[in-house]
């Protein structure tokens, strides 16, 4: 479903991604592990369509090129990104925000939009899956949320919007042990044969719960090694230096 071919990305003439090749098939979960600053979040943003990058190469989503499409078009095509640093929107109610997002999707798909009541019952179901209290629904988007709460809120959005492809950028960072388990369970429920996931993480623990099909190691803008779960274990034990000649 997602095909990245020889992707080079730079910002202000600084090269960040240096020839990424990655193919994710429906139903697969790929994990990327890699050093700080190796370009994992950059890759996520480039897939999501953030402005400000010079891009060479190709990104295809279900056979269609994503480059040139706006973030909103990509989102409506089914791409979701759980942010490493979720954005605070003061003054905007969390439920209201999520409802606007879901209704934008329904509208784009030609489906009837949900009214406030229907949405509320839906969201009250979903919030149980991420182990958050209902009081977070009446707060403003990520405003005053703790690091872990922000991540839970991202997954609440994922489970509500049900996109076909999800990028999880360090969703596990900041979550306590119990929350990590709940979130991983939530994500596992979201998985099915039609959906793909790209999970970025620094820790094997998340992958223990999620059981990735493929694990990539990224260093300095390149995927230097690809393997299965055993690669994650090896990286956790040895770090990254052994991958550099």
């Amino acid at each position: 479903m997602l095909e990245i071919k020889n992707l080079h990305v730079s910002i202000d003439n600084k090269k960040i991604l240096k020839g990424i090749n990655l193919t994710i098939i429906s139903g697969e979960l790929h994990a990327i592990m890699g050093r700080n600053g190796s370009g994992k979040s950059t890759l996520s943003h480039v897939i999501a369509g953030k402005e400000g990058y010079e891009i060479e190469g190709e990104i295809l989503f279900n056979g269609e090129s994503l480059l040139g499409k706006s973030p909103e078009e990509r989102a409506l095509a089914g791409i979701f990104m759980s942010f490493q640093y979720p954005v605070v929107i003061s003054g905007v109610n969390n439920t209201y925000f999520l409802k606007a997002a879901l209704n934008a999707k329904l509208k784009a798909n030609g489906q009837p939009e949900l009214d406030a009541m229907d949405f509320l019952s839906l969201i009250k179901e979903k919030i149980k899956l991420v182990g958050m209290d209902e009081s977070y629904l009446s707060r403003n988007v990520n405003d005053g949320f703790s690091g872990g709460e922000k991540k839970q809120n991202e997954i609440l959005q994922l489970l509500t919007l049900e996109p076909t492809f999800a990028i999880l950028d360090e969703t596990d960072s900041g979550l306590d042990i119990d929350a990590l388990k709940i979130i991983a369970n939530g994500v596992n429920q979201y998985r099915n044969s039609e959906r793909g996931i790209l999970a970025i993480t620094h820790y094997q623990r998340l992958l223990d719960y999620m059981k990735p099909d493929v694990v990539h190691a990224m260093i300095d803008g390149k995927i230097v090694k690809t393997g299965d779960m055993s690669l994650a274990k090896e990286l956790e034990k040895k770090g990254y230096s052994w991958l550099i000649d």
Binding site: G52, F80, V87, V92, F97, A100, A101, A104
Partner: protein, 478 residues
């Protein structure tokens, strides 16, 4: 903020049509004869003419204020016509109103027709200088409520006019108030008798139609002991290349235990979005007096229109335990300038005031909040809470805040909060990533920013205000 927000600002004004209707218009120019003519057309009693002339002579001695942070070429007061009215007059029912005029109100979405009357809003519509129709009169009369054009009240209730006119905003108050006192042509008059809770929202729509005319309306609202009234005014004007002057005066009087809630949705033509040409100069004096104990006056304003706004709805808290409130959303986009705020003067004991001001600037819009809180010597235990938030959209706009605080009684409790925020590109991107369009994201964020004020508006107008914000911000981002 970069690319997304730098893109062209492109706003369309929906109400810019001109109604083709025959008008009786006085030739441009201002002198004592013009004032006599206005007074005569309106068949006013002697005391009114005297007051007008007194005001005019006062105005001649005054100078146009320059302290506001607004910039405009000098106004030629002799080039303005001070009276203009649709030709047919003396209307008894809506059927007699010129269909062109009714059509105008339909376009404005004003509930003048039968079916809309059911919505429970009594409307007084002021078209250029005269009041065209007041609906719901009978229903109001049953409760003893007087709601009529100002000029009619001068005829039917001269004693009330004589007693209250100029008591809150004296004719000497300021340059524009003096001018208004001399030449005002119409406006609304409201009197709520003792103990009456006005059974419906009262509403006035002002529209400037004729070219080269000024609109000088005068509104006087009196809430007698223990009464309550909620009043809303809305304003629009056609698109014209030349600037038009609107200098209104509003006076509110609240007696013991009375409450007046005054809401404004102001959407005068803001001028051409690309060049800044044209638009209304909105120089308005609004003031309310809480005369006696436990009275309350609450101003809510949503100001999205006008090329220049100069406006400070204020409260004089004279009665003990009286309450003054000011909730404001002001938006300046493109070339608009606004210098607005409020003044709370605490005279009585245990008086309380609240100021919530939300300013939004986009495009090249310039906005100033100017707020004064004065606690006088005898105002024991007075309290004020002020919150003044600015939001900037883009990099060419500006927001300025001038709070003036004058406390002469040590028991006063003052609280002031201020913030400036901008709509960040990262916020827009985050919304976009969730499938929300840039325009929807902006209105989501702006509405969130304004919600404390919107919730003070009567229900049906809160929705209108939200829509207005969306239209006024169209194209401000992305």
């Amino acid at each position: 903020m970069s690319k997304i927000i730098e893109k062209a600002i492109d706003q369309e004004y929906k109400y810019g049509f001109v109604t083709d209707i025959e008008q009786d218009t006085l030739p441009p120019g201002l002198n004592e004869d013009v004032i006599r003519a206005i007074s005569e057309i309106k068949n006013e009693p002697e005391f009114m003419l005297k007051w007008r002339l007194k005001s005019y002579r006062q105005w001649l001695k005054m100078e146009e204020p320059t302290w506001a942070k607004v910039d405009y070429p000098p106004i030629d007061y002799q080039a303005i016509s001070y009276y203009s009215a649709p030709k047919k007059k003396e209307l008894n029912s809506l059927d007699e109103v010129d269909p062109e005029l009714l059509d105008t109100y339909t376009k404005l979405g004003i509930p003048l027709e039968e079916q809309k009357m059911l919505s429970g809003v009594a409307v007084d519509a002021v078209f250029d200088s005269v009041s065209v129709a007041t609906t719901f009169k009978d229903e109001l009369e049953k409760h003893g409520v007087i709601f009529c054009p100002f000029s009619e009240a001068v005829q039917s209730h001269p004693e009330l006019i004589k007693k209250y006119l100029g008591t809150v905003v004296p004719h000497t108050d300021n340059y524009f108030a003096a001018l208004n006192s001399a030449v005002f042509t119409d406006g609304s008059f409201v009197y709520i008798p003792k103990g009456v809770r006005c059974p419906m929202e009262l509403s006035t729509y002002f529209r400037i139609n004729a070219a080269k005319t000024g609109q000088f309306e005068r509104t006087l609202i009196i809430a007698d002991e223990g009464s309550y009234v909620s009043y809303l005014e809305g304003c629009t004007a056609p698109m014209r290349d030349e600037n038009q002057l609107h200098a209104a005066v509003v006076e509110l009087v609240a007696h013991e235990d009375a409450t007046i809630k005054y809401s404004t949705v102001q959407n005068w033509y803001p001028g051409d979005p690309k060049t800044g040409k044209g638009g209304i100069y909105n120089f308005v004096t609004k003031r309310g007096a809480c005369l006696e104990e436990n009275s309350k006056i609450s101003w809510t304003q949503v100001e999205t229109g006008s090329a220049i706004t100069w406006k400070y709805p204020s409260c004089i808290l004279k009665g003990d335990n009286s309450v003054g409130e000011f909730y404001s959303v002001a938006l300046t986009n493109n070339f608009q300038q606004a210098d607005t705020g409020t003044k709370m003067v605490h005279l009585g004991k245990n008086t309380k005031s609240t100021i919530i001001s939300k300013g939004i600037s986009a495009g090249k819009g310039q906005q100033t909040y100017r707020g004064g809180v004065k606690i006088m010597k005898n105002a024991d235990n007075a309290r004020n809470y002020s919150q003044c938030d600015s939001m900037l959209i883009g990099e060419q706009c500006g927001a300025h805040t001038f709070p003036y605080i004058d406390v002469r009684n040590p028991s006063a409790q003052m609280e002031h909060e201020a913030s400036t925020s901008s709509i960040g590109e990262d916020q827009i991107y985050y919304c976009n990533q969730r499938g929300i369009s840039t325009e929807d994201a902006v209105s989501l964020i702006v509405n969130g920013f304004c919600k404390e004020v919107f919730k003070e508006l009567p229900m049906e107008f809160a929705v209108e205000a939200q829509k207005l914000m969306e239209v006024s911000l169209e194209g401000a981002v992305g």
